[in-house]
Point group: C2
């Protein structure tokens, strides 16, 4: 498999960094090819701007859909966005690794979605869900939380994490037609002992080793 690993943590020595490194080594050892987008290292700009487009569809007014559709048609996304799209297009598996910030993905990753999952390229003209552009690709989401599992339990103060994950698993990834695998969640990482961290790494390794055969979530 070709794997596109999108990694969104600012600190290489973080537990997110350890999970990223484990993904690269485990997948490579099994013969897969891993291409990375290390968003902080790339200084990825998550804010949509005129400069995302080499030519402009509408000079007077900035309407993102219009510019994205125009750029998809004429191949005039900025070189950085075009490269991200090329990585994604050629991948069999999209792997997202990030810390859970404020009940969702960090801004740098949200902006990657907002800009790379562009209208005209990743969706549009009825291409979504069962008719999604990226049918046949798999997606695996791996995240770390600050809060413990209890706070995300049915009666916990936050409530089940699956509710918040739906925006990512269903709204972003199933929307573009991907087969989305059950997410990997490492809870309360800032407070986890070395033993618990080692256990999470073992669990994640097992998930990576079976990534080709894991049954995707229902749509």
């Amino acid at each position: 498999m070709k794997v596109h690993l999108v990694y969104a943590h600012p600190e290489p020595t973080s537990f997110n960094g350890a999970l990223r490194d484990l993904a690269v080594s485990t997948l490579s050892e099994r013969g897969h090819t891993v291409v990375q987008s290390d968003l902080y290292a790339m200084d990825f700009d998550p804010v949509p701007r005129r400069s995302d487009f080499q030519h402009v569809a509408e000079a007077q007014r900035f309407h993102l859909w219009t510019e994205q559709g125009h750029a998809a048609e004429h191949g005039c996304f900025s070189p950085m966005l075009a490269e991200e799209m090329a990585k994604l297009s050629s991948a069999d598996l999209l792997l997202l690794q990030f810390p859970w910030w404020w009940f969702g993905i960090p801004a740098i990753l949200k902006g990657w979605i907002d800009k790379v999952f562009a209208y005209g390229y990743a969706y549009g003209m009825g291409r979504m869900y069962e008719k999604g552009v990226f049918r046949g690709k798999r997606a695996l989401v791996s995240l770390t939380t600050g809060g413990p599992p209890e706070v995300y339990s049915e009666r916990g103060a936050n409530g089940p994490i699956g509710v918040y994950l739906k925006a990512i698993l269903h709204g972003m990834l199933q929307f573009v037609g991907m087969d989305v695998l059950p997410p990997f969640v490492a809870y309360a990482v800032p407070f986890a002992s070395d033993e618990v961290r080692a256990q999470y790494l073992d669990e994640f390794r097992a998930r990576l080793e079976t990534v080709e055969s894991t049954v995707p979530l229902p749509l």
Copy 2:
């Protein structure tokens, strides 16, 4: 009331811009004071960085919570973040106006939350929900979607929008102790006729006029 209006659309002539302008005029006419954070106009940087902090707690490793907690204790957030926090602290109502992108808030607004709702300032040490830092403040969320109401219906392809909004209404705003009002949603704005747009503006004006007395959502 003092109102902090955080606005996250890149195009002033957009319908989001019209809703923003309506909020400013309606609230001002009723004697409220409106302070804005126009995130694109400010060129707000949504990515957490070392430069968000005037002094560093840990020079070898970038751990966001540690730096935020240290900056909250020592008053060493960057001037821009300190100003955003001052606007928020003195507000009675936080009003968020944004387009619904990929089942959530745009990256520039997610980054505003990630950076301004900082550990040590907006939460921490058990201060959350009923014990939240911003108890007594109200919050109103106003958004525009591309998709029509049908796609967000119980049997629609996306499913109810309330599921996706929970990250914002509960996870971000109730988490910090705010009284969160029912959200205002203008659906399918890119495809809306002038009549439908005028109707949305009327509905939003009515919401703004009753913002002090509207019953908040249950926690």
